[in-house]
Symmetry: C2
Subunit: 222 residues, 2 copies
DNA sequence: CTACATTTAGTACCAGGTTCTAAACTGCGT
DNA sequence: ACGCAGTTTAGAACCTGGTACTAAATGTAG
């Protein structure tokens, strides 16, 4: 369909220019259509006819060619996406996927930096996400029903960019005699490079209920 | 519609008890209906007839009485909600509302602990949200186009619960000679009580591009 | 028995489409 | 001037998941 056009386009100029400016409207219209629907997915075909000054059939042919589903399908997809997000928010309770866990000893989690984790202009990951991964892991590695971060000393060694996979490794360094506190060290890497390190003091169940308690806790994983 | 019912309910007991256990099926069914739709908003009236073993008209009467909109309306509402959320996500870039800002001097932000910030079982705020508020503020108070957290030393003084409002106050303590680093102290309070404190080292634009750079930055706010 | 609530049935209608068939119009090559 | 392809428009039948309304059947308490 378009093969022919591009072929002729390249060859001659004077005659085909006319052809192109006559043909472009379809492409242009479809581009516009995509843009309109993108920035307002709630628009009906009816409304589109008014905006693009073509018949409703043309709108529908365009949607078909572009693979854009009908209004209701779009809404359903959006609803499902947001519903899934809400559902997977409990998964959001631990930031990063824990791939290895030896309670009271060590743990490893992986966290991929995605669009929502970076500063839009520079695509550099925001610090609190790296902290959150490390903090979650430090809390998870403690073998108690409740564990709360009491304090932390952290360092952002280098910035992490969109798409990079952070691998955090946590080591439990010491358990206090009364077992009320634990020291956990976390090192995060992208590849071989260390990008973050943190020293966490975690309060655990017995002492965590009263007294100076921190900002995080966790449930026993299996 | 319900006024009458509740009226008789309150008055007499022995006679109405019978009436109630005869009436309950309706109420019970409606409670079930609410629950079903709540945990699966994508269900059609047809599917509900099978689940509740009543006619589709009853389902629809129930929905009316309960003020539950039809499937398509539900999906539309969800889609709109998620769309608004996505739109207001850039607001999520700074955690907490900045209410006062004196660049290179001090700043104040307020952050209310909501459902999504707490651990579901205990309703205690997760540490990284408190950190995020403080970190955002520490970065915001620096008068530079780009600012990145290099390191932080933080302490969770006491746990914060659902519904509490955290007020974070940041003070720029020192600016290095070359202006490449700044020291920022942040103290967060619920009412009079301090709940968090942190010491941040922030790298600023000139030196931030190369060298050891942190995990956060910010754009100039007006 | 009667009055009232509850449930079910059925019809007409609607939005926002899909699917399919059939015309027009447009412009180009020959 | 003619045909042909790409494009646009029109129209009818049908679909889902409802609303709105009328009417009848069933229950049940007083």
């Amino acid at each position: 369909m378009w093969r022919k056009l591009t072929g002729t386009e390249i060859r001659v100029q004077e005659t085909k220019v006319v052809r192109d400016i006559e043909r472009l409207p379809k492409r242009k219209r479809q581009q516009q259509l995509v843009k309109i629907i993108e920035e307002n997915p709630f628009v009906t075909d009816q409304e589109l006819t008014r905006m693009l000054k073509v018949s409703i059939q043309t709108i529908r042919l365009d949607r078909m060619e572009l693979g854009i589903p009908e209004l209701r399908e779009r809404l359903k997809l959006m609803a499902e996406r947001s519903y899934d997000q809400v559902r997977s928010l409990p998964l959001h309770e631990v930031i990063g996927d824990i791939v290895d866990l030896q309670l009271d000893r060590s743990g490893i989690s992986i966290f991929e930096i995605r669009e929502e984790h970076v500063f839009s202009r520079t695509h550099i990951a925001r610090g609190h996400h790296l902290f959150a991964q490390a903090n979650s892991l430090a809390v998870a590695v403690i073998n108690d029903e409740i564990a709360l971060t009491a304090s932390a000393d952290i360092r952002f060694v280098r910035s992490v960019k969109l798409g990079e996979k952070c691998i955090a490794k946590a080591y439990v360094r010491s358990i206090s005699g009364s077992r009320s506190k634990a020291k956990v060290e976390v090192f995060s890497y992208v590849g071989e490079e260390m990008i973050f390190q943190g020293h966490f003091i975690i309060y655990r169940s017995a002492s965590a209920i009263n007294g100076s308690e921190g900002g995080d806790e966790h449930e026993n994983r299996h």
